[in-house]
Amino acid sequence: MSYKIAICSGKGGTGKTTVAVNLFSTIQTKWTKNVQLVDCDVEEPNDLLFFKDAKIINRSIVNQSVPVIDESQCTFCRKCEEYCEFNAISIIPSVKYASVDPNMCHSCGACLHACKFGAIQEHQHPIGELTNYSRGNQTDILEGSLKIGSPMQTKIIKDLKANASEESDILIYDAPPGTSCPVVETVSAADFVILVTEPTPFGLYDLRLTVNLMKEMQKDFGIVVNKAGLGDREVYAYLKEEEIELLAEIPFNREYAGQYAQGKLLSDIPPLIEQEYMKLAIYLKNRMNHD
């Protein structure tokens, strides 16, 4: 079993991806080669932008089962429409019209139980893809990517997690932003969660929402403050008051922000920043041995 670390942030753009990518690289170069980075931000996967040397070693399509109604069998009774909680089915008896919208369907299968006339069958409908990348000889980066407009984030994340190797010492999940379902799906299997925030009122507000979610899910977590030095000190007061552990503080560095923009996160890392990632990796190592 691998030790699973999820990296989350309530607010987008706090530097979740930066932390995930740097932590992955620190662990890989200084601790164990047997680590995989799993990009679960399936609406906007970005981790790969920082690894120019990664090669695709496998790509597969993820399908969702979507019901298709056979109009020659259908009696237009509308039972399936009534059963569908996601408004994916439209039946118009007067013109003998029956159709399912794959962009609304959650593949729950309720309509199959509704139809007494055998008019519904499931077909496979593509909703995205999973890609395995490697920078040596084994997969070390995995990415899921959702087709624009599909509501099936959690399905892709589930398949993506199943695709990661349990033989790895460590798996790093880069979670989607926010606090809704896809985040819950990503975090559910994690042994430890790192919440990335920035020291601004926006960052703090969204951090509180995420902390509440972690408590509700009974997850162990700690905080990384990114862009330290910008904004104000309120986040530190909050952490103290709530007795939440501050794992690392990544100073804001304008030049490094420019490097990030260019996709060059992993070369010429300022020593002060590198040191914080080392600190984080050591913390995780101790934690893992202890857990």
Binding site: N46, E85, A110, I148, G149, V183, P201, L230
Partner: protein, 294 residues
């Protein structure tokens, strides 16, 4: 009334800071924070809540252990693996895994399962120093943020009509998923606030694809344009090829962050600064052609 949604694709491009700046420039406008997952606009607009409404979220199944015979039929049928045997015996639903499809409720041979809407979500109508604002609060781990977005927008539109407002300005969610789609169907204009980073660009392209599917006129703002001037150039070129009007470019300045720390828009915080001037120009570019039409 013209409805405008501000989107960014990637989070953290400074969308909300710019929305707040527009808010302090706009007259006769209703505002809606439809980034319901991580709403931040209220931190600057400081709304005084006038009306609170409950939004019925997704359903969550519940098993009545008195009736349940532990037959396990529902476990087999649930596609989300949300039903589990408890260690102390009996079955239970994991509310985080349940999608609320009601399949189990409908097929349970003993009718032991019922479901209830989650009541963790609320939306509000508030007063702010710039005008009426609608916003929402979602419970942790909730689903259906798309539906909540639609509800807030629908009510914001009604308010805007009632007040005979010129504009409805929506601060939209990140991403290109259901809530992003719910935030742009049927709007008159979209303003994309992006930043010149590889990931910012990458996400902007995905968002543009989505907006173009809906054939909505699109404007762009490049925020923090001097973080990487090379990518800024590439973006400008890309916008030209896509027929997207660039409203302007804003250089990185700590004042944007400091304004937020002081709970002010940049227009209020540094009214005569270069950035404030630039944002004024942008807002005029969006609104002037519309005013001329009237």
């Amino acid at each position: 009334m013209i409805e405008i949604t501000i989107l960014s694709g990637k989070g953290g491009t400074g969308k909300t800071g710019i929305t707040a700046a527009f808010a302090s420039l706009a007259n006769n406008t209703v505002f809606a924070d439809i980034d319901v997952d991580a709403p931040d606009l209220h931190l600057i607009l400081e709304p005084e809540i006038k009306e609170e409404n409950q939004f019925l979220g997704a359903r969550i199944a519940k098993i009545d252990t008195q009736i349940c015979t532990n037959c396990g039929f529902c476990i087999k049928e649930c596609r989300f693996d949300a039903i589990h045997y408890r260690t102390e015996g009996g079955l239970e639903v994991n509310p985080f895994e349940c999608e609320g499809c009601r399949l189990c409720e409908r097929i349970c041979p003993f009718k032991a399962i019922s479901s209830e809407h989650s009541t963790n979500n609320h939306w509000f109508v508030s007063d702010t120093r710039f005008g009426t604002m609608l916003h929402a609060k979602m419970g942790p781990g909730e689903e259906n943020s798309g539906k909540l977005v639609t509800t807030v927008r629908k009510n914001a539109k009604e308010k805007a009509r009632e007040q005979n407002a010129d504009f409805l300005l929506n601060d939209g969610p990140p991403g290109v998923g259901c809530s992003a789609i719910a935030s742009l169907t049927g709007v008159d204009k979209v303003i994309l606030v992006t930043e010149p980073s590889k990931s910012g660009f990458h996400d902007a392209v995905r968002l543009i694809e989505l907006v173009q599917k809906f054939e909505i006129p699109l404007y762009a703002v490049i925020n923090k344009c001097d973080i990487n001037s090379e990518i800024t150039k590439q973006m400008e070129y890309f916008f030209i090829t896509q027929g997207i009007q660039l409203l302007g470019k804003i250089p990185f300045n700590e004042d944007m962050v400091n304004a937020i720390v002081n709970r002010k828009s940049i227009i209020e915080y540094k009214p005569d600064s270069e950035i404030a001037e630039k944002i004024k120009e942008m807002w005029n570019k969006v609104t002037e052609p519309i005013k001329e039409l009237k």
